[in-house]
Symmetry: C2
Subunit: 429 residues, 2 copies
C-alpha cells in the first residue's frame, strides 16, 4: 500500500475552489482530505508540495485519433474531401505498427504535458495504441474505427471484438474498450446492426462520429428520410451507451433523442472550427442535461492536443455564436474539461476529487503573470490559463509529470522516434 | 555602435520560412543577413544562438487597454451593460497613477513573454502608461480615450493633446501617440469635429472603436441614418489615418469606405467572442486589401494578453463562421500577427525582417512536443504553437527576453505591485 499526500493546495471541488487543502491518496484512489492537524501524526510514502497550485480532476480528452499525430501540419488549408482523398487516405494505407505506436507515444506525452489524464481514441492498429497506453501510464478508452462500406469492414469488426477481449479493463484497469462504428455516412444499416449485436454480446459501449457536417445530415435525410441521430437511434446504436463526437448539426428532435437515450457528446471546438464544420449548440445540450466533454480530435485537424485550449475555445465561441455572453460560464467550461469528460467516457469513479474516486489529478501552477492580479480563480482558469501552467499530473495515483518534467517518459526518444517513423511513412508514398 | 548577430535560425521572410539563416543587427535596426562565410571575419558585441529557433517579426498587439489588467477575471459572465455599470465604471473612478503604472508594467511583461514587441493602447492616466513603456523597452502607440458625452470630455481632449506633445516619437522613438475618440456611441458630431481638427493640427492619427456590436450599429442608423463607419467617414475621422478596433458589424458599403479611406483594423477575436459581440468578416476585409492586425483588447474581456492565442483564434473561427476551410490560411494568420499588425499601427519600418527595418524580433523555440513531427512549419506556427514557445524577444535591437527569462524586468516585483495596487483599488470601493 502506497500513501501519497498533496499538501496545501487549491482544490476544485463541488463547483468551487477552496484554498489550503490536503489531498490524501492510497494506491490508485483518493482516500481523503485530511486537515493540517490530521497530518501531524500521519506518515506518507510520498509528499507533494501543492503550494500555489490548483488541484483539479485530471483533464479528459473525449475524442482523438492519436496516431494521426503523424499528420500534424502535414496538409492544412484544404477542402475536406481534397484533404482526405489526396493526402490522408493514401498515407494511411502505408501506416504500420511502428508508426502507430511511436506517434501514439508522442501524442500521449503531449496530452500528459497539457494535464490530460484520460482520452478516448478511435483508429486502427489499436493494439499498438493500447500497448503505448499501458506502458505510458495514461488512461484511455479505445475503439477500432469501423467503416461498413470499405474493404476493411469484416477485419474491423473482428479486430474491434479482439481489442475488447484483449484489452478491456486491462493495464491496471486504465484501459476500457468501446466499439467504433466510424460514422453514419461510412456505414450501412446491415453493418451497423451487426455492430449493435456485438455491443450487446460484449456489453460494450459505442464511440462514433455523428452529425459533424451539414452535408452529412442532408445526405442522411435524403437517403433514409431522417437525421443521422434519428437513424442511429432506430438502429439501436444508443442502447448500450454511446459517446458521439461532434453533434454540430442537430435540431430540437435530435436533442430530444440524445437526452432520452443518454447520448454523451465529445465536443471538439478546435476541429469543428478548423475544418469549417460549424459550431455545435452546446448551450442547448447542457440545458437539456446532456453530458458534454471536450475533445481535440486528431492533431491533423487541430493541430495540437491541448485540451485546455479546447476549454478556452468552448468558453468563448458559443457566446459569439448565440450572441449571449452568459452561455457557458467559466465553471461550466472547467466542468466539461473534467467531470463532463469523465462522464462522457462512461467513468463512474473519475472526474471529481472525492474520496473513493480514482486519483487522476492535475496540479496547475498559478505563478504565471497571466494569473495576476489575484481575482476570481475559476475565471482565471477558464479564460486566462495556459496548458504550460500544468505542473503535475497523476493517473491512477502514479505521478507522470512533476515540476513540468516527465517522470516516466523519455521525451527525446519520443521526438526522435516520431521523426523517424514520420520520415519512413512519407518516404514510402 | 552595437553589433548583434542571431546565428543559424529559421527565418520567416517574404511569406516563407527559410532555415539556417543569420540576422545581423546594428544598434536598433536589422543590417543584413550574412552567410556563414561572411561571419568568418566579422566580430559582434553579442551573439545569439538561434539553433532550433524560428525568427519572426515581433508580434504586434493592435488593441489594448493595458491598465485594465487590474480587472482581469474580476467580473466575467455578465451582460455588457451590467458589467460596465455595476463593476467596471465604479471601479475606474478609483484608479490612480500608482494603479495604472503598475498594472501596465504587469501587462507589458505578459505581452513580452508572449512575443509581443509593440502594442496600441487607449485609456486614461496615459502619462503613467507612457512612463512604463519608456522604462520597459517595449514599443507602443498610445492614445487617451475621449468620450464627448461624459464630464471628462474637455479634460480628455486636453490630455490627449498634451500626451502627443510630451510623448510622440519619444522613448528612443519607441512611443507614438494617436488621438483616441472612444467610439461613435460615446461621442457627438461636434466633439468629434474638434478631435478631427486637433488631429489635423498635430498631424496625429486616430485610434477608435467602431461597429463592435449589433446594437451600436442599429442605434447609430436610427440616430444618424447611417452606419458608424459612414458617419465617422463623413466627420473626417479617417482623413489623417485611422486604426479602428473590432469592425464586427460592417456591410459591403462599410467595407468600401474602409478600403477607400485606408482604415486599418484591429481584429480582437477573443474579446469579440467573450463579450458575445460577434465575428468580424475578416476574410472579406483581406479580399478588399484592408489592413488587418490582431489585438487582445483589455485583459478584462479576454482574459489574457496572449497575442499568439488571438492568431490561433483568427486562424480558426472564420473558417467555421463562413463554412469555408480555405479562409485565413496559416500564413495569412501569421502575417496578421506581424506585418499586418505593424501596418495597422502605422509603422513603415517594422513588421518585416528586412535590412533597414527596426530590430523587433521574436525567436520561437520549436523543441516542444507539439512541434513534432516536423511537417509544415508555417502550419505548426499558426495552428499548433503556444506563446510559451517564445524564447527571445528583441525590441529596437535590445534583448528583453532571453531563454524565456526577462533580462530587464523584475517579475517578482511586478507581481507584488500588481497585487498591492489591485488590493488598494478594491479596498477603496
Amino acid at each position: 500500500m502506497k500513501k501519497t499526500i498533496i499538501k496545501n493546495v487549491g482544490l476544485y471541488q463541488d463547483h468551487v475552489i477552496k484554498e489550503h487543502q490536503n489531498i490524501e491518496i492510497t494506491d490508485d484512489r483518493i482516500s481523503g482530505f485530511p486537515t493540517d492537524k490530521d497530518l501531524l501524526d500521519r506518515v506518507y510514502d510520498e509528499t507533494l508540495d501543492g503550494h500555489g497550485m490548483l488541484a483539479t480532476p485530471g483533464f479528459v480528452n473525449t475524442h482523438n485519433h492519436i496516431a494521426m499525430t503523424v499528420f500534424r501540419s502535414y496538409a492544412d488549408d484544404m477542402n475536406l474531401m481534397d484533404w482526405l482523398q489526396t493526402k490522408i487516405w493514401p498515407a494511411e494505407d502505408h501506416l504500420d505498427s511502428d508508426v502507430v505506436y511511436n506517434q501514439t507515444m508522442l501524442g500521449i506525452a503531449e496530452m500528459i504535458r497539457c494535464g490530460t489524464t484520460s482520452f478516448a481514441d478511435m483508429y486502427f492498429f489499436m493494439d499498438d495504441t493500447a500497448r503505448a497506453v499501458a506502458e505510458s501510464g495514461i488512461r484511455a478508452c479505445l475503439s477500432r474505427g469501423m467503416t461498413g462500406i470499405t474493404p476493411s469492414a469484416e477485419t474491423a469488426l473482428k479486430e474491434n471484438r479482439q481489442l475488447f477481449l484483449d484489452w478491456h479493463k486491462k493495464g491496471d484497469g486504465r484501459i476500457t474498450v468501446m466499439l467504433g462504428p466510424h460514422a453514419p455516412y461510412t456505414n450501412t444499416a446491415a453493418y451497423l446492426q451487426r455492430v449493435v449485436a456485438l455491443a450487446k454480446e460484449l456489453g460494450a459501449e459505442i464511440h462514433t462520429h455523428l452529425s459533424e457536417t451539414k452535408g452529412e445530415v442532408e445526405e442522411c435525410r435524403k437517403k433514409y428520410g431522417k437525421s443521422p441521430i434519428a437513424w442511429f437511434d432506430e438502429l439501436g446504436l444508443f442502447d448500450t451507451g454511446c459517446l458521439a463526437a461532434h453533434c454540430v448539426w442537430v435540431d430540437a428532435d435530435d436533442l430530444d433523442i440524445m437526452a432520452r437515450k443518454h447520448v454523451r457528446v465529445a465536443h471538439n471546438p478546435g476541429s469543428n472550427l478548423k475544418l469549417a464544420s460549424g459550431i455545435a449548440p452546446i448551450g442547448k445540450m447542457l440545458e437539456k442535461g446532456i453530458t458534454v466533454g471536450l475533445g481535440t480530435d486528431g492533431a491533423s485537424s487541430n493541430n495540437n492536443l491541448d485540451i485546455m485550449e479546447e476549454m478556452h475555445l468552448a468558453a468563448l465561441i458559443h457566446k459569439a455564436n448565440t450572441l449571449d455572453p452568459l452561455v457557458i460560464p467559466a465553471e461550466t467550461a472547467v466542468n466539461m474539461l473534467t467531470e463532463g469528460g469523465a462522464k462522457a467516457l462512461g467513468y463512474t469513479d473519475i472526474g471529481r476529487l472525492e474520496t473513493g474516486y480514482k486519483a487522476d489529478i492535475t496540479l496547475i501552477d498559478r505563478s504565471g503573470l497571466h494569473w495576476y492580479p489575484r481575482n476570481d480563480q475559476m475565471s482565471l482558469l477558464a479564460y486566462a490559463a495556459n496548458s504550460f501552467d500544468v505542473d503535475t499530473v497523476l493517473v491512477n495515483g502514479k505521478i507522470l509529470l512533476r515540476n513540468k518534467e516527465f517522470t516516466t517518459i523519455d521525451i527525446e526518444k519520443i521526438k526522435h522516434e516520431a521523426e523517424r517513423t514520420k520520415n519512413k511513412l512519407f518516404a514510402s508514398l
